[in-house]
């Protein structure tokens, strides 16, 4: 506790902008600002949710929120980088960005972020940092209050119960499953982060000891540590959809293939994805969610403010609103979006907790117990190493 306080105090002292600002002042400054929020625009339910959030912050705080729909967070990083190249230190075009993992690590290490700021946000105190360590370490990169937790993610799989009786419970079982029904399994091609996550999951599951994966990747033992993974993929690929000669671009495309009946298993980072997809007619009622026995990789997604935004007050007000119990509860509703909350239930008031307790449970949603152990992401350096090694083997 003492340490957290100290970090927060140091952060405040280091950042002169906050030295003489308190939250009501920030809210006052924010009034009238227009926030360009760059976030993936490929999902209508998410677009609808952000439209709702925009209406709310306009009414409550007089902040106008614009959802800039992007296909790829890399585009946003490129934009900020281009602005830095051109020496635009203020008035940047991005005020808030939906981000995590390597993109965060890249922006943080290249000084492209504003902050630390989350310690100033009142709702940050409600975040479950104790039981959700990924809110503090994003793919093992220390968050250091440079991005505000927005939602929880865990790798889950989906299957069509009309076609599959029992889904595989591990990567080894997945291989058997593929042997029995060739062509019914696939995964997205890295560097799509869905594909890379699949690799990391397989790597963690197939290794005798996952400890080395939480250290920075080293050239000396990369081959030996990843050997089980490549042996597994070498066997799996010929049994996959299109014999592993072509791949999907990500989980959304796999969802389409699942609905088309081309494949019988799919994956997602949102445990409520299947329920939501059933609710809006993207998937049939027979689809169910499952996880592997040994647990699956989980992480947190965040919002961050680029270093050259001139509307930081408004951006902070929006980030704070997105973390509010009301906004988080609405987001967790499977009929709206179904994105799990970052908040700690025991830090909420009775009425705030009631918002979450009233949520309907989706047809294909697993209970917390069923979701099982959450595996931590390997060290961020494994991402690039795995992607490159995968490309050298299978996309050369």
């Amino acid at each position: 506790m003492k340490r957290t306080l100290l970090t927060a105090l140091t952060a405040l002292a280091l950042n002169p902008a906050f030295a003489d600002l308190n939250w009501p002042q920030i809210e006052a400054e924010a009034r009238g600002q227009t926030i360009n929020f760059h976030a993936w625009g490929g999902s209508e339910v998410i677009n609808d949710y952000l439209q709702w959030a925009a209406d709310e912050v306009a009414e409550r705080y007089g902040v106008s929120l614009r959802h800039v729909k992007v296909t790829n967070t890399g585009d946003v990083v490129s934009q900020v980088l281009a602005e830095k190249t051109a020496g635009r230190a203020e008035g940047g075009s991005v005020d808030l960005v939906w981000i995590n993992g390597e993109n965060f690590a890249a922006m943080k290490s290249n000084d492209l972020l504003f902050g630390p700021f989350t310690q100033v946000l009142p709702n940050y105190a409600l975040v479950d940092t104790e039981n959700k360590p990924t809110t503090l370490f994003d793919f093992t990169t220390a968050v250091d209050n440079m991005e505000a937790p927005w939602g929880m993610a865990q790798l889950v799989f989906m299957y069509d119960s009309a076609l599959v009786e029992t889904p595989p419970q591990s990567m080894t079982e997945l291989l058997n499953f593929a042997r029995n029904s060739p062509g019914a399994v696939t995964y997205p091609a890295p560097p799509s982060f869905y594909g890379t996550t699949f690799l990391k999951q397989a790597m963690l599951e197939l290794a005798d000891d996952p400890a080395p994966f939480y250290e920075e990747v080293a050239e000396s033992d990369f081959e030996s540590l990843t050997a089980p993974l490549w042996a597994f993929l070498d066997e799996l690929h010929p049994l996959m959809w299109r014999q592993g000669r072509t791949f999907t671009s990500g989980a959304p495309e796999m969802k389409l293939l699942l609905n088309d009946g081309e494949i019988s298993l799919s994956l997602s980072f949102n445990p409520n994805d299947a329920s939501n997809a059933i609710a809006i007619g993207e998937l049939p009622e027979s689809v169910r969610t499952y996880v592997h026995e040994g647990g699956t990789i989980g992480n947190t997604h965040f919002v961050a403010i680029p270093y050259n935004s001139s509307q930081t007050e408004g951006a902070m007000v929006v980030a704070n609103f997105l973390m509010s119990p009301e906004a988080q509860a609405r987001k967790a509703d499977v009929d709206v979006w179904g994105d799990p909350t970052v908040l700690a239930m025991d830090k909420l008031t009775q009425s705030q907790r009631a918002l979450f307790e009233a949520l309907p449970r989706g047809a294909a949603t697993l209970s917390d117990a069923e979701l099982g152990t959450v595996l931590r992401e390997p060290h961020a350096s494994w991402v690039a190493a795995l992607e490159r090694a995968w490309q050298e083997r299978y996309a050369n």
Partner: protein, 567 residues
């Protein structure tokens, strides 16, 4: 005489449009050679090029680009000649001409999505087959789309480029006097194939050279279509470069910039090669002039007919699948039609797209109108110069105008983006219009220059002698007779602007949401229904403008049938 005010049109056009490209190229070459201050890279080196060459899959990606880009362009050219040789001129062709406008306005990405849904193993064709014959009960594990050889990408590109080449050919054919040539050839006993090959194809190809070059450059560097229909592991070079530009590891932008520059180099080499081959083809002439008549043209008609039927079938079914999906609630394999219908996608889509629609429309209209004014000015200047110097070659200068079509967008947009931000000009609407203009202008020029140059100046002299006013003559005689090609040129320019994806993205820093950027962003999701709505709207806008371009001249000429014959 260089002080004449008309002389400023081509200069203005060139200056305004070449500056951003040159600046953009420079801004891409610097990082390609290791200079990227924002990332702490201040040392010039060839390391980015070495990194690019060592990047996994680079060789195959380059090969994919060459095979699909060049292959599709050549196929499209061959099919264009086949169709023309088999059927031009004929009554059926006039009907086909009217179909070309809507076909040209189909955005590339929307077409790729439609074709994908048609021919994948769980697609519409197999669904229809299952409901008719019971086969296949489950989707087959066949590589009919996104195959690792690039066949499906090549097919989509060929189908998309053929109508464009046909359209451009139709603009040039009246000047070649095809009917008379055919009549003469036939009277000497030659068959259609022979007459076309010897007498019409060579001059036609000369006129089609620039559009053909644009097709090659496009095919080599296209990103959106290659993402949807191309190989995935590895993808084409353009997709790989685009990915490097957006990689989380920021330093990969250096080999990315090298890749973008390489794409330019490869494009230029291919164009040079094609030009060289077209020169060498003259050597074949003695071999062709052997007196054989080839009087049978049945095979030609068959090949032309099959290509035409296949193309039309694909366009219509791709369009139909989009329409069906936009009204779908749920539609799973093997149902031949949606099992649940719904208006939800349209309600959601239309409720939200008004702003994007307006931005798309206003940007398209303004850039097309500005381009039209500049093109008319430049063409009229040509007329003036030709009157002064009879040997004047207008082509040379105007090659520069086509530069934007011959240079891969990826090769200079990154540099443009940085320079605009540096000048504080990013995110302004007029800059967006300007950036679209770079691509709209050459297309306006391509579509209008043929008919405009073919205009019989004796009408102008007659007008001048009657009215004594150059303005009045130009406006009331020349323009009045050219309304139809002018309308077409405007509509083409508008359609080109609507389709711009990368420039809109790069210039606006994401602040400009057009129907196209929204559609591409939705295509990365998993809802085919809403994607279909946006793809259809993206198609509808240019279609409406094309319709106007057709109907307005028809109305204008309702009392002057003779004028309307003048194309």
């Amino acid at each position: 005489m260089s002080g004449h005010w008309l002389a400023w049109f081509p200069r203005l056009a060139l200056l305004v449009f070449l500056t951003p490209i040159l600046v953009g190229l420079l801004g891409t070459w610097l990082p390609a050679f290791g200079w990227f201050p924002a990332l702490g890279q201040h040392q010039f080196s060839t390391q980015p090029w070495l990194d690019l060459l060592a990047y996994p899959g680079f060789g195959t990606a380059l090969q994919h680009s060459l095979v699909t880009g060049l292959g599709a362009s050549i196929l499209a050219l061959v099919i264009t000649f086949l169709i023309l040789a088999a059927f031009y001129p004929s009554r059926a062709f006039q009907r086909l001409e009217r179909l070309l406008a809507p076909i040209l306005s189909v955005p590339h990405a929307a077409f790729a999505i439609g074709v994908g849904f048609l021919i994948t193993p769980s697609g519409w064709l197999f669904r229809l087959s299952e409901s008719l014959t019971g086969w296949p009960a489950r989707p087959l594990n066949w590589l009919t789309y996104q195959d690792p050889w690039g066949i499906s990408l090549m097919a989509v590109l060929t189908l998309k480029e053929t109508p464009f080449l046909l359209f451009m050919a139709l603009a040039s054919l009246p000047a070649l006097k095809v009917r008379q040539t055919l009549w003469l050839g036939t009277s000497l006993g030659y068959g259609r194939t022979r007459i076309w090959l010897l007498l019409i194809a060579p001059p036609l190809f000369k006129r089609l050279m620039l559009p053909f070059f644009a097709v090659i450059a496009y095919g080599l560097s296209v990103v959106d279509v290659a993402l949807l229909a191309g190989p995935t592991a590895p993808p084409t070079l353009a997709v790989m470069v685009n990915r490097l530009f957006n990689a989380p590891d920021l330093l990969l932008r250096l080999p990315g910039a090298a890749g973008a520059s390489l794409l330019l180099l490869v494009t230029l080499l291919c164009l040079a090669l094609v030009w060289l081959l077209s020169r060498l083809s003259r050597l074949l002439l003695p071999w062709l002039l052997n007196g054989q008549r080839w009087s049978n043209s049945g095979l030609l008609r068959l090949a032309g007919g099959v290509s035409l039927a296949l193309g039309l079938f694909t366009y219509l079914s791709a369009l139909l699948t989009l329409v069906l999906w936009s009204f779908t609630g749920q539609w799973r394999f093997p149902a031949p039609w949606p099992t649940e219908w719904s208006l939800l996608a349209w309600q959601r889509g239309l409720g939200r797209m008004s702003e994007a629609l307006w931005l798309t429309f206003s940007t398209g209209m303004v850039s097309a109108l500005v381009a039209l004014v500049l093109v008319l000015g430049a063409l009229e200047n040509e007329v003036r110069l030709r009157a002064q110097k009879p040997g004047f070659n207008s082509q040379r200068l105007l090659w520069l105008l086509y530069l934007p079509l011959l240079i891969p967008q990826l090769a200079f947009l990154f540099g443009v983006q940085v320079s605009l931000i540096w000048l504080g000009l990013d995110g302004r609407w007029w800059v967006l219009v300007w950036s679209h203009l770079i691509f709209v202008l050459p297309y306006c020029f391509l579509t209008l220059s043929g008919p405009y140059r073919a205009f019989d100046e004796r009408y102008t002299w007659l007008g001048l002698s009657l009215s004594q006013s150059p303005w009045k003559t130009w406006w009331r005689v020349k323009l009045a007779m050219l309304w139809r090609p002018i309308g077409y040129s405007l509509a083409t320019g508008f359609a080109v602007s609507v389709a711009q994806y990368l420039p809109t993205l790069f210039i606006g820093g994401g602040r400009f949401a057009t129907i196209t950027t929204e559609a591409v962003s939705l295509a990365s999701g998993s809802d085919r229904r809403i994607t279909a709505v946006y793809a259809l709207m993206q198609q509808l806008l240019p279609l409406l403008v094309f319709l106007l371009a057709l109907l307005l001249p028809a109305w204008r000429y309702r009392k002057h049938q003779e004028l309307s014959h003048y194309q």
